[in-house]
């Protein structure tokens, strides 16, 4: 089993999201993450779906996605080089004594401080998913009160 990123261009209207989600759920596949947003053409949305499965399953999913009337294009990134980002918001316990340490750690990862209170600090970071995982592991010992990940968005790298 491998984790794959699939990008789907769809008609931007009601029902499309549930149609696509249903395609995964009816086969018992769990979506790791799914993000949706408008593209440069407002009539088209782009979904970035991260899903685990073996090659045969992914091949079937891509074919089934292509069958949907609302789906304009499916790109299975496979192993091709992509530019990927994920946004995370993490609220971490902090006191006077730990605040600086946490901010230093955030600096190293290119995360910024979104909010500070007497007992917590909220960090924001946009990065690759792997990097986000590392960062979360390092701040975990301080006590994560709340963590939100948007899920991955991805684009293929241009060929030249």
């Amino acid at each position: 089993m491998s984790i794959r990123t699939i990008s789907v261009l769809v008609e931007n209207h009601s029902g499309t999201l549930s149609r696509i989600a249903g395609l995964f759920s009816s086969r018992g596949y769990n979506i790791s993450s799914l993000t949706v947003g408008e593209t440069e053409d407002p009539s088209i949305s782009r979904m970035t779906i991260v899903v685990g499965g073996d090659d045969a399953i992914i091949e079937q999913v891509v074919k089934q996605l292509n069958r949907l009337i609302d789906v304009i294009k499916v790109i299975d990134f496979g192993s091709e080089p992509i530019i990927e980002r994920e946004l995370i918001l993490a609220r971490v316990d902090s006191s006077k004594s730990t605040r600086h340490e946490i901010i230093e750690l955030a600096d190293i990862f290119g995360a910024s401080v979104a909010h500070v209170s007497a007992t917590s600090i909220t960090l924001e970071m946009s990065s690759t998913c792997d990097n986000a995982d590392n960062f979360i592991n390092l701040i975990r010992p301080y006590g994560i009160k709340e963590l939100i990940r948007t899920g991955k968005v991805a684009m293929a790298q241009p060929k030249k």
Binding site: V10, G15, K63, R67, I69, K73
Partner: protein, 576 residues
């Protein structure tokens, strides 16, 4: 031109050349039915249950290849359509289902008779549409018919809120054409793939054609015939494909799979090259997938890329329309003379594909099907079926000479399908003899349609093979569940204290189908002895209009051969 939403709908139906529409009204559909009241160009058939409306529309579509149309109201009317929509989805039948809906302002409020039918029907439709703005209605109607009837056909549902059907549009124009950027089915197969297929066929010593419903949807039966004869390949047809190749032809070896012929299953296990055309390697065909067709390379022609390599790995896929691809393939394929392979096939077949043990007095269900065939083979006849044992006997023992003559619920296996489907087929094909081959269990699921048939004088002939059981489930219980006939005896009920089996039961069978038919003013006849069968059939067939014929058959007759679920297809059980 200024028109109401309902008038736009009716105009679209007429422009799409719809001549019959099967439906049932209700509060939110009143504007639609009001507009239909004036439409001289099309006939509205009022059924007695919405499920029958959708099956009748399927029967119409399966008999003609045209898009079938049904209409129901919101809420329960719409949800009652779902079984039939799912049925059409699994069998790739072109259908447009129109549902009334609560007014847009009430959507999502749990209003009276509101159901999110677009949400409910999503997994079982090819596409569905909720009309939220009357300006979208003409385009959406055009799209619904286009999507239903093109590519791999399927059902499309269009949900019309009451304020849309009752509202009006000033500048109504029905679109001439339709263009959907995300929907462009591939029709012509890739030439290189077709060449590769021809090459593989040339190198094959034991080619086998395995064809399904796609040949019928595509209208490719002549091309299929040409290919089979040219390369002298035996042809096995799936349940959905029956009639795509003449059932009496020497190259025809019957249906494959669970209740398929031994010849077809042996051929699949021995062939070195399967030419699959518009078939989808259903689990009822393959049995245990890993042991299916172990020696075969597979060429797969299909219009739906998602079908390729879904169940079985395919060596040469060709995506496109069967008729177009076969025409191209026939032009380049190398003819092949009959060989040892053909002799082997003939040896497997012997003098018949399917057999059963005849008895002196008691009626065998297979005999009823054989007699129906004998009496109708010289007339253009459509057989619709209910689901279960009788469906299988109708598939095994009737020889379909042409496509669209066997109309059956294949993928979903929907009980209650046959009677309403026969209505739709009979209205679509008034010159043909239409027979519903029914079991006594399945027909009761839509028996209320006897009213629709009688009142509208729809000349459907109903042949009930009555074994007093839900026979197919009983067969499984007999073979795999230690003969524990739980909830499958239709004589008994929860009041039965002990059961000594059908020979000893003193209970009366309910209903009396002959009396029931008479109460609907439909002539009915019953046979209880072997020698009465032909006479009863003749009487029913000779009547002008509908007739019901009931045959009291051997209660515990089984469908053989039978490949137990999940077993390799060459390990079929046979009658002892």
């Amino acid at each position: 031109m200024k028109k109401t939403g309902a008038e736009i709908l009716v105009d679209a139906l007429i422009r799409e050349k719809v001549d019959y529409i099967f439906g049932y009204p209700g509060g939110q559909a009143i504007p639609i039915f009001d507009a239909l009241y004036d439409a001289k160009e099309l006939t509205v058939v009022l059924v007695r249950h919405e499920q029958a409306a959708v099956h009748a529309a399927e029967g119409y579509a399966r008999a003609t290849g045209k898009v079938g149309v049904c209409v129901a109201t919101s809420g329960p009317g719409a949800t009652n359509l779902i079984t039939g929509i799912a049925d059409a989805y699994l069998d790739s039948i072109p259908l447009v289902a129109i549902t009334g809906q609560v007014a847009t302002g009430y959507l999502g409020t749990d209003a009276f008779q509101e159901a999110d039918i677009v949400g409910i029907s999503r997994p079982v439709t090819k596409h569905n549409l909720l009309v939220k703005d009357i300006r979208d209605l003409p385009r959406m109607l055009k799209e619904a018919f286009y999507i239903a009837g093109t590519g791999r056909p399927g059902p499309v549902l269009i949900d019309i809120p009451r304020d849309i059907s009752a509202g009006s549009l000033d500048n109504y124009v029905y679109p001439e054409s339709v263009s959907i950027r995300s929907y462009n089915p591939t029709l012509t197969g890739h030439p290189r793939q077709i060449e590769k297929a021809a090459e593989m066929i040339k190198n094959s010593k034991k080619p086998l054609i395995y064809a399904g419903g796609g040949v019928i949807s595509s209208g490719a039966h002549k091309e299929l015939y040409e290919l089979a004869v040219k390369i002298n390949a035996p042809v096995t047809l799936t349940l959905m494909g029956l009639g795509a190749f003449p059932g009496e032809h020497d190259l025809f070896i019957g249906m494959p799979g669970m209740h398929g012929s031994k010849t077809a299953n042996n051929a699949l296990q021995e062939t070195d090259c399967i030419i699959s055309i518009g078939a989808r390697f259903d689990d009822r065909v393959t049995g245990h997938v890993a042991s299916f067709a172990p020696k075969a390379k597979i060429i797969h022609l299909d219009i739906d890329p998602a079908t390729i390599s879904k169940i079985v790995r395919v060596d040469i896929p060709v995506v496109g329309d069967a008729k177009i691809i076969l025409t191209a393939l026939n032009a380049i394929v190398t003819p092949r003379a009959a060989s040892e392979w053909n002799e082997q096939i003939n040896k497997w077949r012997g003098d018949r594909l399917f057999s059963y043990k005849q008895t002196e007095r008691i009626i065998k269900p297979q005999y009823v099907v054989e007699q129906v065939y004998e009496l109708t083979k010289n007339r253009d006849t459509i057989i619709t079926t209910e689901v279960g044992q009788t469906q299988m006997w109708a598939a095994q023992f009737y020889r379909y000479a042409q496509p669209r003559r066997f109309i059956s619920s294949g993928g979903l296996g929907t009980m209650g399908f046959g009677l309403p489907a026969a209505m739709g087929a009979a209205l679509a094909k008034p010159d043909m003899l239409v027979i519903d081959m029914a079991g006594d269990g399945s027909i009761q699921m839509n028996i209320q349609e006897l009213a629709t048939i009688s009142i509208n004088k729809i000349p459907v002939k109903i042949v009930i093979v009555n074994n007093e059981y839900l026979g197919m489930v009983r067969q499984w219980q007999e073979l795999f569940w230690d003969k524990r006939y739980s909830s499958t005896c239709l004589r008994g009920g929860f009041l039965c204290k002990e059961c000594k089996g059908p020979g000893h039961c003193k209970k009366k069978y309910i209903p009396d189908f002959v009396k029931l038919a008479e109460s609907y003013d439909i002539p009915a006849f019953r046979a209880t002895q072997h020698e009465e069968v032909t006479d009863v059939l003749k009487r029913g067939f000779d009547i002008d209009g509908p007739a019901l014929m009931e045959f009291m058959v051997a209660p515990e007759e089984n469908v053989y051969p039978m490949v137990p679920s999940g077993k390799p297809i060459d390990q079929a059980l046979e009658e002892l």
